[in-house]
Symmetry: C2
DNA sequence: TTATCTTAGAAACTCGATTTTTAAAGCAAA
DNA sequence: TTTGCTTTAAAAATCGAGTTTCTAAGATAA
């Protein structure tokens, strides 16, 4: 359509002047400025972003790498990042890796081609090679809970310990001692970090007590499987409480326990992790460790932009707090008779939303 | 970093030749091609997308406009669109409007500046002015259920009638006659279209019977309010079934009915709309009209790309089917005693996942 | 009146590709 | 050997900005 030349001709000035008016990069007299502005209107002129990026070397695009937008963990995070980017005048290119490393690699390549101003990596399908590639191009990157820090690399470090400690203390206050943990798939760093936070706190409170760790996969189905394993292997002395590596796992576990005739939270208290929107709507509503996705997203963009502004400075490491949200899936421990475990019983009505 | 010139120098050829090798746009002898390829490797060369876009006038970017990614309707749709775009080599810039027209307008401006190849508008905060702006720039657009068709404008038309008819026939088969409807906020075209599909089918089946329409807002809280209104205004003769404009509304209504001592589906059958992932996980699991988001997303990109390929052709109108998914929130109608409505009663255990 | 300093605008160059034009070989036919 | 055609690749123009340098006009001071 119409270019800066058309505007310049229309206003009877040079293209340089138009550029200076648009970017405020040199003084232009009020009269000329007004004339230029009017011509811009008249021509319905929108500056071509590619030409600008090419000339200036800056793209005002942020790359956002996530695993799966359909995983309820991500939408709110994406929303926060998108909002923060919008406010600072950046566009967000979304990359949904589907947990696929090759796809991730393609996206990193595209990001480089588009000369993105920065990349937020909110997933772990990012191997050393890709990270190096970005480092080599000096693209600022912010990792969620993954990364090494570096010249252009920042890291958001979620303080899992804080929330998990609150969770365990909450259970202990309710009288629980036998507390099991259902982990996420242990290949993922975040699963390992969460597990470690759990065991560390437990060992501190109950030194030497053997741990009750079961394997899930961050999905509902994994929670269900783990619950079954708990029922099978611990039948003689069931844990009175279960902490799950994320909310989906907790939801799966709750369901499996209920199917097997247990009442949540009367027989077993359950605590989730993440505080996804859905967790307030389950029955019973889930007591869970809140991960402040909103803050996470905001900080991610903040850190990225500060790296962009001062490319010479070292990346930052930001601590993200977590805290316990108490709802209806936890209750005081109850003296349990062995017979209860086997027999079905009615559920109690409970307020959930 | 390194540009096409470096590669050309390294390979001892002109930049034109490098370009032709990359894009396969002219014959290049095997020997020269091999030399060029090697230089590309050696220089770790990635073509600059901005320069390409500027020179070619094509951006390989799609703009995606949605209302709110945290609304469970959208993630799966976004995922499908992103996947389809990725497969065709397009990047997706996400625009989350937050139902804000001004923000939408900003985004449209940015899309134009970025010379996007096409825009998928999956929301309705898009007024005539913006649509015209896009039309003026000849940017292909695909609307969800909103738009007029035009030279570069396509439309995905969801066949609400189909699914709603199945829903009503399902209820009728279960013996229901008094069927209420909770609408979305009526300012939204999609709310009007859904409502119209409901009333049309009802009038066809039960001509002249007065309609039971209540107002919601597509949110949980609106469903709750509407349920309350139903209880208040229809206490003497409650509907035996309720169709909700979307799943969130249905979930809110279920909860409010339950709080008031009704059992779902024993006392009232409820049907949602959209089949969001969550709807399979509620208790009772929601019978709902499925909107095939995956197909929707895929078709959106398809239509857009075909408009991009043949800019001279008229836009398309694609019908998107809907169908009923039967779960646990609907049951045969039951002869009801007035006393039941007022007294609390225990819930029955039900399989939900 | 002349010299100096401001100010604003024009012109030229740059970014890194694509695309069009031009030219150099290579080969066949006359 | 020359002409003409084909094949191949180089050279140059172009896209639409930003940016730097240069120049002209006007203001100010000596």
């Amino acid at each position: 359509m119409s270019s800066i030349k058309d505007v310049a001709r229309e206003a009877g000035v040079s293209t340089a002047t138009v550029s200076h008016v648009i970017n405020n990069t040199r003084f232009v007299s009020d009269e000329v400025r007004a004339r230029v502005m009017q011509s811009i209107q008249q021509c319905r002129y929108y500056p071509n972003a590619h030409a600008r990026s090419l000339a200036s070397g800056k793209s005002r695009i942020l790359g956002l790498v996530i695993s799966d937008i359909a995983n309820p963990f991500f939408p709110e995070l994406v929303k926060a990042i998108e909002a923060a980017a919008y406010n600072r005048g950046f566009d967000v290119v979304l990359s949904n890796t589907n947990y696929d490393t090759e796809r991730t690699s393609h996206y990193v390549q595209r990001f480089i081609e588009r000369n993105v101003a920065g990349v937020a990596v909110m997933t772990s399908e990012m191997d050393k090679r890709l990270t190096d590639e970005l480092a080599h191009r000096e693209v600022p990157v912010v990792f969620l809970d993954v990364g090494e820090k570096g010249l252009h690399m920042s890291n958001l470090k979620v303080d899992y310990e804080e929330g998990i400690e609150q969770a365990i203390l909450h259970l202990v206050a309710l009288g629980h001692r036998r507390i099991a943990y259902i982990s996420g798939n242990i290949e993922l760093r975040s699963a390992r970090r969460r597990l470690k936070a759990f065991t560390a706190t437990m060992q501190q409170l109950f030194p030497g007590v053997p741990e009750l760790i079961f394997n899930g996969n961050f999905k509902i189905e994994g929670g269900r499987r783990a619950a079954n394993e708990i029922l099978a292997t611990q039948a003689d002395d069931l844990p009175t409480a279960v902490v799950a590596a994320n909310d989906l796992t907790a939801i799966g576990a709750i369901h499996e326990f209920e199917v097997n005739g247990l009442d949540i939270p009367r027989d077993i208290s359950i605590i989730g992790f993440d505080n996804i929107a859905f967790s307030a709507l389950t029955k019973p509503a889930l007591t869970t460790v809140n991960l402040p996705l909103n803050e996470l997203g905001r900080r991610a963009v903040e850190v990225l932009l500060s790296s962009i502004d001062k490319p010479s400075e070292e990346g930052q490491e930001i601590r993200i707090p977590t805290n316990l949200i108490i709802r209806q899936s936890t209750a005081p421990v109850r003296i349990k008779k062995v017979s209860d475990v086997k027999s079905k019983r009615r559920k109690t009505v409970r307020q959930t939303m």
